[in-house]
């Protein structure tokens, strides 16, 4: 069953299409990573899914309902980011016990255990927390709410590496106990790819691809070697990204849909492309790389 169905979704800000006819669906009880460059439209998409913002065109359903202003969708979903605002008249412990009233599946015991594990002083107010601590607290709310649709928008902002690792592990363990639909947007794909089932990659408001992570890992390979030899083999291949290592050598990222044996025999090195790097290559504009900025003598 699909929890989310999205067809030709458009969100306009003035003349800009933040979301540009995007269509996809998300299966129930899966963990999906939403990946994209800064400004790709991730937050816009997630806020529309959560019912915070209204779409401009197209259809979107969450639990078979249009999410905007929908009580049912609100009750069954939670949107976690680093901008979540909590009142300062309640301390952290009180905030957690109040949250119980809003979320029918609220797990008070888990919330309290996590608060203790991450060494929070329960009498502090949310605003006095550091950036990383604030993200950690928001994550606790997101996990304990146990909403059938749980959305994390850049949940790890400001968290140190140890806390991030704990977060991914906590998320997975809790998901194993209470399967639900989870969407996480993050720039740390390499850190969290193993706990994901699917990846949805977007760029400039459009869907680039949606694939199981395992397939994404085998989606492309890097061919590196003598430029003359590598170029020869490219005719029947789909080139994703090209880089000259020096005058004679280059490395080219291509779709992995051919037999490696014959390429290897030519002395070309075939190596895997991490999902994280692949996402960068797939969303790179046509303007070349950062090197071109420094390459003043470029004569094209």
């Amino acid at each position: 069953m699909n929890v989310i169905e999205c067809e030709g979704l458009v969100k306009k800000y003035g003349s800009l299409n933040a979301l540009d006819h995007i269509s996809f669906s998300i299966k129930e009880n899966t963990i999906t990573g939403l990946i994209g460059r800064n400004g790709a439209g991730k937050t816009t998409l997630l806020k529309i899914l959560a019912g915070f913002w209204r779409e401009t065109e197209g259809t979107i359903t969450v639990f078979d309902r249009r999410p905007f202003n929908n009580l049912e969708v609100s009750m069954n979903s939670i949107f976690v980011d680093d901008m979540m605002s909590f009142t300062n008249t309640l301390n952290l412990k009180e905030l957690l016990s109040e949250a119980q009233a809003f979320y029918p599946n609220w797990d008070a015991e888990l919330a309290e255990r996590l608060l203790g594990y991450f060494n929070f002083n329960p009498r502090l107010v949310h605003q006095s927390l550091s950036k990383g601590k604030r993200s950690t607290f928001n994550m606790i709310v997101g996990l304990a709410a146990k909403c059938p649709l749980t959305i994390f928008d850049e949940p790890t902002t400001g968290m140190d590496r140890a806390v991030r690792k704990d977060f991914y592990r906590a998320l997975l363990k809790d998901y194993l106990l209470n399967p639900r639909t989870i969407i996480i947007s993050s720039h740390h794909l390499d850190e969290m790819e193993d706990i994901l089932e699917d990846i949805l990659l977007i760029d400039e408001g459009k869907k680039v691809l949606q694939l199981p992570v395992d397939e994404l890992k085998e989606y492309a390979v890097t061919l590196s070697g003598r430029t003359a030899v590598v170029m020869q083999t490219l005719q029947d291949k789909e080139v994703i990204y090209k880089r000259n290592v020096d005058i004679d050598n280059c490395s080219v990222v291509v779709r992995n849909n051919f037999l490696h044996g014959e390429v290897k025999q030519l002395g070309i090195n075939v190596s895997p492309v991490t999902p994280s790097d692949l996402c960068v290559y797939l969303t790179k504009g046509q303007g070349g790389g950062i090197d071109d900025v420094f390459n003043k003598s470029k004569s094209v």
Binding site: T30, I31, Y168, R169, L172, K173, L176, D194, I195, L196, E197, P212, V213, D214, K217, E218, K264, Q265, G267, S271, P272, T274
Partner: protein
Amino acid sequence: MVLNMDSTIPIYVQIAEWLENEILNENLKVNEKVYSQYKLADMFTINPATAAKGLNLLFEEKILYNKRGLGKFVSTEAMDIVLEKRKNHKLKGLLKEAVQEAVRLQVAEEELLGMFKQILNESKGE
């Protein structure tokens, strides 16, 4: 018992290989129940769908069999299949790579065989 997350080998294949090693070491015996996808997910901090894919790989190769509602179990022929598979695929592949490197380095056949025997003797001595 840690997976190599940076390896060329997909995680689900690594899971399958890890289970194969458990069978080779006889940590998992014939007709014994293997870990569920959820248990594997918890053990390795991976998505249960990835773990399921690893289990399915072994099921398709008849190393595991299904008992409805109970999970996956080690088949009677598991050990033979794993040994056969490791020999024909993995070992041959490794040898092929070594030979290709030898050809690139223009190492003569006799020299290569000599190196091979030396390594064989060394590892016997251990």
